[in-house]
Every structure is written in structure tokens, then in C-alpha cells.
């Protein structure tokens, strides 16, 4: 049953050191505020799962929260590399990062399998790719009826999934609309789910077939306006493309990254204070 509380409480109670954590949002509704809180609370040894690791995972990796990364595309969308991710993989800074690498199709299917209570997913995939040579968690099976060969990957079953959504009602029912990505599957696949929302309302006013997560599959809901920034929330605010571009400079070297994170995240009490500092610094160093 959903607990309506502050983001700090939600992360404090439901996200622990060593957890397998999925933070999802396919460029839309990326839970940036929640990732900052994980960094503030200095979580470590996390296995991070995400189809498209971008700025939030660059920050978590650079701050040493992650032991392992399960992913299918890691970059700064529309800008270029993730420098902290690359530094960890190429040079082991701040420490070595284990990676389990998939294709989008495989990881999306792995979430579906997890949500469906199955141990593995079957897909037509990876044929001719070198990925299976380097990822022992990609296998091939045969259809028991046609004999056809298909790929199999283990399902993703996070200890906790973290997402950002547009709205929740006072019971904790959550509404996501627009580009819904893989969020529903990520929540249904997880043991616990933390959801930040733009606003908590009396009535979701959701369409009958809208993407709604009932309160009893959600562990905690925290109201965090602008909680997806620099990602966007459809119907609330647009993507801050300037920040994505600025991040390329901020994250390019270790000192500038660390300095920025200390000033903007570690030195701030919460997301609201972070937003104030950000307004002053203009996101610059």
C-alpha cells in the first residue's frame, strides 16, 4: 500500500545498499530528483538497471554508488558520450564497474518477463551480433514446436524500481501519460516501487485505459515538482536541452564533475534547494 511521504523518507526506507535498482523513463519522466536523493544518502554497491543510462546514471556512477550496470544504450541523448560512465568502464574511476550489456529489445523483454513472474524472456534477437560472446546471460533456445532458434535472457526483477510520473491521487494511485516507455513493466517487475510525481491530486481523471499503477503496487509516493528536470514531464514542462549540452562540459573531467556534484547535490538539503542553487549557478560550474 502506497505511503505518501517525502522523497528523503521514501529513499531512506525503501532503497538500500546493495539493491538492484531500476530507474526508468525513456527520455521522458526520468527520475532525476530521486537519483540525487540516492546520492545524498550515499547508497553504495548498487546494481543499476536501465535501458538508456544517461545523466542520472552518469551521476550515480561518478559518485561511486554503482557496482554493476545492466543496460542497452549509454549516452547523452542528442549530445554525445557519458564521460563518467566511460571513465568508469575505460579507466575504472572512481572504481571498477561491472557491466551486463543487452540490446533494447532484449532488455525491454526482460522487464516484461519480470513483470510477468517468469524467470526468462524469449525473443528473436542478437543474431550475428558479438554481444552474446561477451554476455553469458544471453542464451539461445529452440521452439518446442517448430525447432526454430530464439534468444533467451534472464528476466529483470529489481529490488526497487524508481520512476517519476505526472500525477498521483491521495491514495497513491499513479497516472503516467504520453511516452510511457517501460515504466509499468519496471514497477510490476520489482519487489518495491518508489514514485515521484509532479503533483498529488484529488482525482486522477484518467481515461479508462490509461497507464495507471494502483496504490497497492506502489511502496511510496513523493510529490516532487520538476522532479524529472532536465528531462521533461508531458503537460508540465519541456526537456531542458541546454542542461544536457552543459552536462557534457561539467562531466568531462573528474574535478569539475565532483565540484559540481558537491555544490549542487551534496551541499543541498533537497530537490527544492538544488533547484535554487541551480538557478543561481545557471547549471554552470
Amino acid at each position: 500500500m502506497a505511503k505518501i511521504c517525502s522523497l528523503a523518507e521514501a529513499i531512506g526506507e525503501f532503497l538500500r545498499d546493495g539493491d538492484t535498482v531500476a530507474m526508468e523513463g525513456f527520455t521522458h519522466l526520468i527520475p532525476h530528483a530521486a537519483a540525487h536523493e540516492v546520492i545524498r544518502q550515499k547508497r553504495k554497491d548498487l546494481t543499476l538497471v536501465r535501458m538508456t543510462p544517461d545523466l542520472i546514471y552518469d551521476q550515480l556512477i561518478g559518485m561511486g554508488c554503482a557496482r554493476r550496470l545492466v543496460f542497452s544504450w549509454g549516452g547523452n541523448p542528442g549530445v554525445g558520450s557519458l564521460h563518467r560512465f566511460r571513465d568508469a568502464v575505460e579507466k575504472g574511476w572512481p572504481h571498477r564497474l561491472e557491466i551486463e550489456e543487452h540490446s533494447h529489445a532484449a532488455l525491454a523483454n526482460a522487464y516484461v518477463a519480470g513483470a510477468s513472474g517468469l524467470p526468462f524472456a524469449v525473443l528473436r534477437g542478437y543474431t550475428g551480433s558479438d554481444l552474446p560472446k561477451h554476455n553469458p546471460r544471453i542464451k539461445f533456445i529452440n521452439c518446442p514446436f517448430t525447432g526454430e532458434q530464439l534468444a533467451a535472457v534472464p528476466s529483470v526483477r529489481p529490488d526497487v524500481t524508481v520512476i517519476h510520473a505526472q500525477k498521483a491521487d491521495r491514495k497513491g494511485n499513479v497516472l503516467i501519460w504520453g511516452i510511457v516507455g517501460v515504466q509499468k513493466e519496471a514497477v510490476m517487475a520489482a519487489k518495491r516501487a518508489i514514485v515521484t510525481v509532479e503533483e498529488i491530486v484529488d482525482d486522477l481523471e484518467a481515461d479508462a485505459n490509461a497507464c495507471v499503477l494502483p496504490y497497492w503496487v506502489v511502496s511510496a509516493v513523493a510529490e516532487v515538482p520538476m522532479g524529472a528536470h532536465p528531462s521533461y514531464a508531458h503537460g508540465y514542462y519541456e526537456r531542458d536541452n541546454r542542461f544536457y549540452t552543459a552536462w557534457d562540459d561539467i562531466s568531462r573531467n573528474r574535478d569539475s564533475f565532483t565540484g559540481w556534484m558537491e555544490r549542487h547535490v551534496l551541499a543541498t538539503r533537497d530537490w527544492a534547494e538544488y533547484r535554487d542553487v541551480l538557478a543561481k549557478t545557471g547549471g554552470k560550474l
Binding site: G78, S103, H104, G128
Partner: protein, 257 residues
């Protein structure tokens, strides 16, 4: 004839290959620019699908990311990302997959994973994304990449996405269903796989480009078709629509360049 850049020529040449009414799975960046140019010129009925979920996307400006809100607003419908890969791509509903890449070889295999050894990479690239399954299951694949010796290489350090593998019938023998890459469009030329060997052959040179320029920018001994053609220069319409689109985009994203 209007004045145009090689990058404009590349985008226009790629856009022309997208037939009206075709269902196109669009990668972000150059493929998305070309696909939307096609939609805004000769292919108004082209159906654009992005892996983030929009089906029949009609963005006003180009998305910087595969999940930009503008993709959802005018789409015919927006489904979940798993559904895109399961019902639409794997379900065999895609005519054309429009891809880019970091590195390509003579058989149009793509590398977007690593430069150097996988376990100790010199350069760690973003990874596969949707490409391996798009290239496997779309009816055919168009690849658009700026040409450069470091991008068009003799041997890939890593095959992320299968094109024609080792050439000949190797793609079919591997069990890949779609036709695979049918054209590679660069800022210098258009390459197409040889019907037998499946090795990429230059079939069209863009206006003013010489064979030597192409050789200089290709990491293998590139072959040229006997009936080598010249790509038609961009029309006034193609150029103005493309330039307006890029202008609108820069303004909207505040990334003015």
C-alpha cells in the same frame, strides 16, 4: 542549381530513399532528420515509428532525443517501449529501418559498442540500443553516416549489428529474415551491396565528388559500379524544407547552431 553543403546532400539523398506510405523505424540523429525531411516533402504518408513508443509521429521540430514530447503530441498513438519491440518490430510490421552508426565495414555490419577490446576498450561507445533487432527484422535497412576513414573501416573491433556479415548468403544462412542494408548514404556518395558478394559498392557520387575523395575516406579498397551515377543535386524545395526544419529545431531546443 542551389548552393548546398555535403551534409545537406547526404540528408536529401537519404530522404529520397524513403517511399511514400512506408512504415519506417527511425533512429535518432541523421536518420530522424532524413525521415522527417521525406515526410515533409515527397512522402507525406510515411509512417514514422520511434523506439520510445510513438507510432505515426509527426514532429514539428526534430527530436534531440528519441523520447521528445513533440514525438507524442501528433502521433497516431503512443504505445509502450516493450510493445514497440514486440508487436511492431518483431511482429514484422516495419518496412524500413533507418540507422546510423559509429563504424561500418564493407559488408555494412555496424559497431556502436567499443573501439579496442571489449573488456579493455580504448573508446567505450553507447552500445546497441535498438539496432541489432531493427537491422534483423525490418524489411530493409538504410544506413546514413558521414564518411571518414575511422568510421568506414576494414575490420570492426566489434559487430554490434549484423549487416551482411561475411557477405554472400551468410546473412540468410544466419537466419536473419529482413533484406538487411540496401543502401549506405554518406556525405560523399551512395553505396549499395553487390547482388552476389554483398560487398558495398559505390553506385552514386554526389555532385562534385571524385572517386579519389571517396577512396581517401574509406578504410578498405572500395569498389565503384561500372555504371557510376551522379546523385541529383538537392532541389530548391528539398533545401528550403530541410533548412526551415533545422532552423525551427535549433530555435525550439535553444541549441542554436
Amino acid at each position: 542549381m542551389a548552393d548546398f553543403t555535403t551534409s545537406e546532400m547526404m540528408t536529401v539523398a537519404a530522404a529520397r530513399m524513403l517511399g511514400n506510405g512506408t512504415v519506417c523505424f527511425v533512429g535518432i540523429g541523421l536518420p530522424s532528420t532524413a525521415a522527417n525531411l521525406a515526410r515533409l516533402t515527397h512522402a507525406p504518408e510515411a509512417v514514422l515509428i520511434y523506439e520510445s513508443g510513438p507510432i505515426g509521429a509527426k514532429p514539428e521540430v526534430l527530436p534531440l532525443s528519441i523520447g521528445d514530447g513533440d514525438l507524442a503530441v501528433n502521433a497516431d498513438t503512443v504505445v509502450s517501449t516493450p510493445e514497440i519491440f514486440r508487436y511492431w518490430l518483431q511482429g514484422g510490421r516495419i518496412d524500413v529501418g533507418f540507422l546510423g552508426g559509429a563504424q561500418i565495414d564493407r559488408f555494412a555490419n555496424l559497431n556502436t559498442t567499443v573501439i579496442g577490446p571489449y573488456d579493455a576498450p580504448k573508446v567505450r561507445l553507447p552500445g546497441a540500443g535498438g539496432a541489432p533487432e531493427i537491422a534483423a527484422m525490418a524489411g530493409e535497412i538504410l544506413i546514413i553516416m558521414s564518411q571518414d576513414k575511422r568510421a568506414f573501416v576494414d575490420k570492426l573491433d566489434f559487430i554490434t549489428t549484423a549487416g551482411h556479415l561475411t557477405g554472400g548468403e551468410s546473412r540468410k544462412e544466419a537466419g536473419l529474415t529482413g533484406k538487411g542494408p540496401t543502401a549506405v548514404i554518406t556525405d560523399l556518395c551512395i553505396m549499395r551491396p553487390d547482388p552476389e558478394t554483398r560487398e558495398l559498392v559505390v553506385t552514386d557520387l554526389h555532385p562534385g565528388v571524385t572517386a579519389d575523395q571517396v577512396r581517401e575516406k574509406t578504410g578498405w579498397d572500395i569498389r565503384f559500379a561500372n555504371d557510376l551515377r551522379e546523385t541529383g543535386a538537392p532541389s530548391e524545395t528539398e533545401l528550403s524544407v530541410l533548412r526551415d526544419l533545422l532552423k525551427r529545431t535549433a530555435e525550439a531546443h535553444g541549441t542554436g547552431k
